[in-house]
Amino acid sequence: MPVLWLVIAILALSAIGYVMGRSRALSSAGGDTRALHSLPSYYGANVGLTILAPAFGVLIVWLLVQPFFIDRSIASQLPDRAVSADTTMDLVMSDVRRVAEGLDVAVSEGAMTAQEARSIRTEFTDVRQRLGEVGVALGSNVSAEVLSAAQRYRSMSRIGNLLMAMAVLGAAIAGFGISLSRTHSEFRARNVVEAGVRLILIGAACIAILTTLGIILSLVFNTIEFFRLYPARDFFFSLTWSPSFGGGSELGIIPLLWGTLYISFIALAVAVPIGLFAAIYLSEYASPRVRSFAKPLLEILAGIPTIVYGLFALLTVGPLLVSVFGDEGVGWMQSGTAVMTAGLVMGVMLIPFVSSLSDDIINAVPQSLRDGSYALGATQSETIRQVILPAALPGIVGAILLAASRAIGETMIVVLGAGAAARLSMNPFDAMTTVTAKIVSQLTGDADFASPEVLVAFALGMTLFIITLGLNVIALAIVRKYREQYE
């Protein structure tokens, strides 16, 4: 683990730097802290930070760039015959990496000497078998080109790692030298350190942007890749979803969107009335005692992980619905997993979400509106229906949109409760499937990442991301505008 040792070395160096910087500053002031510009610890921190920052910067950049560089140069040296018609460059390169890893494992376990790993040839040794002995299973026999590429890969990685260690330690030592030489009583250490800390704080805040960027880039690139393999028109307008990894699959998103919207609709039909009435009761009618007891209890529902709801749908609600609507009852339902099952359970999950959001919004309606209404002789329910609800309506619509976005993005309940068949049907007791459920099923397999059947998951993810983002932006805008109205 060269990287771990490197990190430890940098940390140790910076700890030493802290102590030395501090004592050097003190001695430059003749041991009198009053003669220093800043407190002594700032001089130490300055040296420590000047060691850490460039060294870690170099380390991170190097770790990101080196694999690319090595892949590039190995790939360009691979002869064309190594990449035959039935494979792609990516697959060959992943083979190369795997063999190289296998050789590393073999050397570290003592099954091969380092010399042997560098020099074996497929003509003389069965590499696949030798690697199999140390627990690295290879899918096919190793061709001579792949083996020599793997050996080149190893030697380049080793040189790269050596260079990296030198560069990183060099940066650390340079930082050490420069900062220590600048350390004397007049140096404005506090200002420098505080500027550094500020930069770290900004960096932490930027992680939010980086995350969004990461999401967008990973979705966009793979989606473009997917549309190169599969026509976008078919994806958006085809009415069938039947992926087959053998090829010739039809990947139309419409049945999935239908299932998603149907389930979300049922969920909202359950959650909105119950949640809204609960919020009205708790904020307008309930005594403080009832409120302090019922509100946290309802919010427990929001804190329960979705896997629990998924299991509840699969094992409790599904069989219950079958016993009523199944063959022994009305005969509308074939199996426990259905739109109704997932929708009802998702509705339960969303009740506290709707109720606590609406509760906040109803509470934000100014008391003067209520008082005015009561003064005109309206009853409490008339006030609520004719004054408070209209005033709170935009906010409530925002809350419902947020709940809808939650429902559309929900995964575990539909994976376990809604079934796997993609179909366009009006019957709520049929099994249907959703965008999120299909993302899971297409990405949890061993299929390779170049096939449209896997890449379609990214296009589905992109669709989901855009829909939920749109709903959220609209909802947040509505809620914000509404809040401003009464502030």
Binding site: S218, Y281, V415
Partner: protein
């Protein structure tokens, strides 16, 4: 002066007896109030239903059926050379042990004086778990000198026998089941009477590892718990410092400009992005791009960190905002720099709120499943305890919610009970964390 004569009042009844319209309005009032009460009631009833379904279905997982047998460790079979050489003993696989247990079962049945049509050794096979042979084998490998003795073992009963005693397997189902016959159930009843077969608390469910599809009786959630633990270490170690640093910047230092707005918009949107999208991010960035190991708790932790960051940032900002400006003014007034003000005065005062928010964020992350499916924490049997820190972070492992999902997907209904049991454990963790958060808030929260 002329007395203004009031216009004649419309004919109204007495105020004491409500008229038609008032009665209607009051009835509407009552109805409306009732709707609200019903809604709250439905919510609470659903909560009770959910919790009671979890408890009633899951409590069985904490009990397991064991059979007490005295196994004769036959030297003829286990050590043909008779030299007690561990290498030779190792050569005898679990198949060599199964007949010994079958014979021990027969002897036990005879000792208990139970009459049964099952008289052959192989007839006893459906009674005990396939894991029993491994249990006896491990004992022999550890104590080679006990070969030739008769040793008392408590072996796991087969999943069907266990299910019969718990009411999961009914006599009607057994007719179609090729794994077990009605005679075995009769024998089970008789052995329960004789005290040979008994149901006891099953610690192995909490500490044990997952088992293969056909050995539901052996499966435990312990390894997945360790996986979750390592994931939470990553989440805590990354999201707390990053979240606090980001909040401090946004709340105390950030100028009002486009860039700050961009960060704010990003944070509020990330908080509402579906968790599955974070799974896609983890798969594409950490596994495809950065070649981090699949199914590793490290990757799971990274994904969950990105997911919990918005939660932690939002709650941290709220508690920083709650520290009154007078504290800052006082610190600045005695000559502290802005940075010293924040780190020496504001941050310590906001700490209880920050910790509360962090614990709640961690609890959310602990129960999250969807992203873990995409980075490959399901679909295999998590049976190895990590043997160190590095392997804990990097070796493939499951996590508690992923393990529950895995069990829910398996065909054998015996695993459903385990899944419910796993949920009880998960909820106990979540409840404890939330309880600690509430306690922290109660104990340290200051009203300014």
């Amino acid at each position: 002066m002329t007395d203004a004569t009031a216009p004649a009042a419309p004919a109204r009844g007495s105020l004491k007896a409500a008229d038609e319209r008032t009665r209607k309005r009051n009835a509407a009032e009552k109805r409306f109030r009732l709707y609200g009460l019903t809604a709250v009631g439905i919510g609470l009833i659903l909560l009770v239903t959910l919790l009671s379904a979890i408890v009633s279905n899951g409590v069985g997982a904490f009990q397991q059926t064991f059979i007490s047998v005295n196994v004769f460790l036959d030297p003829e079979r286990l050590d043909k050379q008779g030299n007690r050489d561990p290498a030779d003993l190792r050569k005898v696989s679990t198949f060599g042990y199964t007949p010994l247990i079958q014979n021990a079962m027969l002897a036990t049945v005879a000792d208990a004086g139970v009459q049964t049509p099952l008289t052959k050794g192989t007839d006893m096979r459906p009674m005990f778990s396939a894991g029993a042979a491994a249990q006896v084998r491990n004992f022999v490998l550890e104590n080679p000198d006990r070969i030739g003795d008769t040793v008392a073992f408590r072996i796991l009963a087969a999943s069907r026998v266990d299910g019969y005693l718990k009411g999961r397997v009914q006599r009607e189902d057994v007719a179609r089941d090729k794994n077990i016959d009605a005679e075995h159930l009769d024998l089970t009843d008789a052995l329960v009477e004789a005290g040979v077969v008994e149901k006891t608390f099953n610690l192995a469910f909490i500490t044990g590892s997952d088992a293969s599809e056909s050995r539901a009786e052996q499966a435990g959630i312990g390894v997945a718990m360790i996986g979750s633990f390592f994931m939470m270490l990553v989440v805590l170690g990354l999201s707390l410092p990053i979240g606090v640093a980001a909040s401090i910047y946004l709340e105390e230092f950030a100028p009002k400009n486009r860039f700050t707005d961009l960060i704010e918009v990003n944070i509020s949107n990330l908080a509402a992005v579906p968790s599955i999208v974070f799974g896609i991010l983890g798969l594409a960035v950490f596994i495809q791009f950065a070649h981090l190991p699949q199914s590793a708790p490290l990757v799971g932790g990274l994904v969950l960190t990105l997911m919990t960051l918005p939660t932690i940032i939002i709650s941290t900002r709220a508690s920083l905002k709650a520290v009154p400006p007078s504290i800052r003014d006082a610190a600045l007034g005695v000559g502290a720099s802005k940075m010293q003000t924040v780190f020496h005065h504001v941050l310590p005062l906001a700490m209880p709120g920050i910790l509360t928010g962090t614990i709640i964020g961690l609890a959310q992350a602990l129960g999250e499943t969807a992203p873990l499916l995409l980075i490959g924490m399901v679909g295999f049997i998590a049976s190895n305890y990590p043997d160190g820190l590095a392997s804990g972070f990097l070796d493939p492992n499951s996590a508690m919610p992923a393990q529950i999902y895995e069990w829910a997907k398996r065909a054998d209904p015996a695993y459903y009970e385990r899944a419910w049991g796993g949920i009880i454990i998960l909820l106990v963790f979540l409840l404890t964390m939330n309880f600690i958060a509430i306690l922290l808030r109660r104990r340290f929260e200051r009203r300014w």
